[in-house]
């Protein structure tokens, strides 16, 4: 079904009223404050948004340097600590060995341990009592 033209005679009065009303729409004077506010917001919009790189531009290298430095210090300390532990172990072992040696040297040897111990003991007369015959 064809649609009748919008501005048909039956709508003429209404259209005239709408046009009269459109002509009565106020046109306020230019508002510089409003324009300024729009420009400010536009400027804020067009500013380059902070990217991750611009945010971390300076802190990132500093943090990286600090991290590397602390890694290096930790690594050297760890190496030093390992050497010290090894040295301490060797020293402890040596001390134990020395202690053992000194303890042996100071203690009297058991008679059975010395092959010449019998020579040092004074001679004895053989006993006249007959030894029991088994």
């Amino acid at each position: 079904m064809p649609v009748p033209p919008p501005e048909s005679p039956e709508h003429a009065a209404l259209i005239a009223a709408l046009r009269r009303d459109a002509a009565r729409v106020p046109q306020p004077e230019f508002d510089p404050h409003l324009h300024g506010a729009v420009c400010q917001r536009l400027a804020a919009l067009t500013e380059t948004p902070p990217t991750w790189w611009s945010t971390w531009r300076w802190p990132a290298p500093v943090a990286l340097t600090l991290l590397l430095a602390s890694l290096a210090i930790w690594s050297s300390r760890a190496q030093q600590g390992g050497a010290a532990e090894e040295l301490a172990y060797v020293l402890a072992e040596s001390r134990q060995a020395v202690t053992k040696m000194s303890a042996r040297s100071s203690a009297a040897l058991s008679a059975w341990e010395s092959p010449t111990a019998s020579l040092l003991s004074p001679p004895r007369q053989p006993s006249l009592q007959p030894t029991p015959q088994l």
Binding site: D21, R24, V25, Q27, F30, H35, V38
Partner: protein, 203 residues
């Protein structure tokens, strides 16, 4: 109507240069264009908002939204028509925001609003004002698709081709919507007028 002529040459040379610069991201060019359109937009916003501060906010939001989507303005319609559609959308969005947050009006409040709209104003200017008030209120009662074409056609003075371009519909659809919108408006007006006569029999 101005809009009919605007189809063939919707933009002046100076505007075309400014628009081209603004589309390339030139804020200064864009702000100069907005400077030219501000008064007219503010006048229309005052009709929607009925409050100067709200109207200013609406114009600000419209201009910022226009900046964000300015690359989509292809010059097939006048800049004001394009901005007017954004103004309409921003106003609808704001209304939706308030509608979601405020309770619906009570029957007493609605009746008071009708009485206020139809209230008698004795001065000659008051008659015109009353006609405008009534007409705008009736237009506001139309469904969105009809309201938009009425406002664009008569208040933004856009041609049917411009309306079709800005709303993304065919010129035939524009004609049809315009016809049905006017028909609805006429019927609503006929219903309201006897009520006004009953309320104010002497006028």
């Amino acid at each position: 109507m101005n809009g009919e002529m605007a189809v063939t040459s919707p933009l002046t040379d100076a505007d075309a240069v400014l628009i081209a610069r603004a589309r390339g991201g030139d804020v200064e060019a864009f702000s100069r264009l907005m400077e030219e359109q501000q008064s007219r937009l503010l006048g229309q916003a005052l009709i929607f908002c009925r409050d100067a501060h709200l109207a200013q906010d609406l114009v600000q939001e419209t201009m910022l939204a226009a900046w964000k989507s300015f690359s989509r303005f292809d010059g097939t319609c006048r800049l004001f028509t394009w901005l007017y559609v954004i103004l309409l959308r921003q106003h609808q969005r704001a209304q939706g925001w308030f509608a979601r947050r405020l309770p619906p009006p009570t029957p007493e409040q609605t009746a008071a609003a009708v009485r206020s709209a139809l209230s008698f104003t004795p001065a000659a200017a008051g008659l015109e004002r009353r006609e405008s008030e009534q007409l705008r209120r009736l237009v506001a009662q139309l469904p969105e698709r009809h309201r938009d074409v009425i406002r664009l056609r008569f208040y933004a003075e856009a041609s049917e081709a411009e309306i079709a371009a800005t709303l993304g519909i065919s010129p035939g659809t524009v004609k049809s919507r315009l016809h049905y919108a006017l028909e609805k408006l006429r019927r609503i007006k006929e219903k309201v007028n006897p009520l006004r006569e009953a309320l104010h029999p002497s006028h």
